[in-house]
Amino acid sequence: MTDHSPTLIPFDDVLASYDPALGLEVHVELNTASKMFCGCSTEFGADPNTQVCPTCLGLPGSMPVVNGKAVESAIRIGLALNCEIAEWCRFARKNYFYPDMPKNFQTSQYDEPICFDGYMDVEVEGETYRVEIERAHMEEDTGKSLHVGGATGRIHGADYSLVDYNRAGIPLIEIVTKPILGAGEKAPEVARAYVSQLRDLIVALGVSDARMEQGSIRADVNLSLAPKGSGLLGTRTETKNVNSLRSVERAVRYEMSRHAAVLDAGERILQETRHWHEDTGVTTSGREKSDAEDYRYFPEPDLVPVAPTREWVEELRGTLPENPTAQRARLQAEWGFSDLEMRDTVGAGALALVEQTVAAGASPQAARKWWLGELARRANDTDTPIDQLGVTPADVAAVQQLVDAGTINDKLARKVFEGLYAGEGTPAEIVEKSGLAVVSDDGALSTAVDKAIAANPDIADKIRDGKVAAAGALIGAVMKEMRGQADAGRVRELILEKLT
């Protein structure tokens, strides 16, 4: 089962001899309250086997009933991916023996997916690649296995396994692309951009938590190489459960280099699944795809067909949000952000927050400064999602308003944010209660300025000689004296009044 330390071909050399073909299968766990075929909760993180019932445990006599909301989400995903929506389709049993499904089959869809023939335009460094969507179908998630014994907790060498079925039956949508050809050297980036844009779309639709790190979006990466210019499709491998955007890119890059090494050595690629190792950045051999992969699909006799009326489909089409890629382009133009600023804003998960902060009256640059600076740091330090810091876009706009009005400066604004984290009230209340407002009262400032001049005679002399730039040092001294609560602009004016 282990690979004898595979040789790799440098990425550029791969491209000199081969054309890559990509395929991506993305599983999206829907955020319905209940499971796909029963009323069990889908809440993440519950104690094992506390969100189960006879249906999702596959007990005799239990009967599944389809969650209408999940069908609605499936159709909305399909429409957002420019898919056709089937007029009539069925569920099918995918039969296999593995204890992650206690029924010995997974209820899925086979040759009648609810959504098919769509596409998504993917942007990579200013270029657009059209990724064709083969299908998006409904199915259910499996349970979670914990392998006990052996050295590493991995399946091989384990003595036995412990299974939790809380996840079994949670609705999944599997989105499958057609082979993506012609991406060439951009193949790793295209793969990443596709998953990234798909995730954004899913977020915009509001149909999933879309947390890759929690497994609510999981990608399988198919890759094959063909001799350059041959127009053929080579034998593919399927790398399972690649769970971050960065890993999608790395897994494609790695498999390209590995395939090329195998092919260059005159050997053939095994059609197999491979496991991605996040820590080491390599894939290892999994199960060979051969006769064993015979799932004996047949239509699920316990469920009736799904036949979405055209009226329903059109009604759902009316609920689609603005396409996130188009929205991003619009916002970037409106805000005048550079590509880098935009990418950082999106990357920090702060796009909607900045948008709402701007809507609340702040300038785009001020909104970006706070969310990507102070607040992103706080989110990172406390390991909290940035939208759950206890600071709202309205708060950020209010803080910036206080700065613009000269009531506080940036340094004091940070203290206001600390008050907000601690739930001490609105920005204005925090300023009031903590006495954070900057001092622009000339009496107090004038005294501090006189003191600073007296303490720094040589600097004062420089300013008297016309070296106005030296005023910075005196401003610093005054700010220190005033514990940061001084209006720096007014301090500067006072210094210059007194010395020039």
Binding site: T32, S34, C38, L59, V66, A70, P99, L162, V306
Partner: protein
């Protein structure tokens, strides 16, 4: 016609351990059953689509509402073995889906 090899393959997929004598015995019987079922095709005309459900219903959905299920104790009560609130199963050969 279903061949002896196909029956052996299906038995393997279904985790049914058949020895040679059993395969010799069962394969022809399965073939007869399939032939008998196939004769129904002769009755149904081209205008009769295959059906997977006897009642002509579509779109039977439930509301997305959480309904209390079983406790972990209840869920595990019929399990031959359990540990830490989980079902304990023998060492798994093969691979995850």
């Amino acid at each position: 016609m279903i061949s002896r090899d196909e029956v052996a393959h299906l038995a393997d997929l279904a985790r049914i351990d058949l020895d040679d004598a059993e395969l010799d015995h069962l394969a022809p019987q399965l073939a007869v059953i399939l032939e008998s079922v196939a004769s129904i095709r002769g009755v149904a005309g081209d205008d009769v689509p295959p059906t997977s459900h006897p009642i002509p219903l579509t779109n039977v959905f439930r509301e997305d509402v959480v309904v209390p299920g079983l406790t972990a104790e209840q869920a595990l009560s019929g399990a031959p073995a359990s540990e830490d609130g989980r079902f304990s199963v023998p060492r798994i050969l093969g691979d995850e889906q």
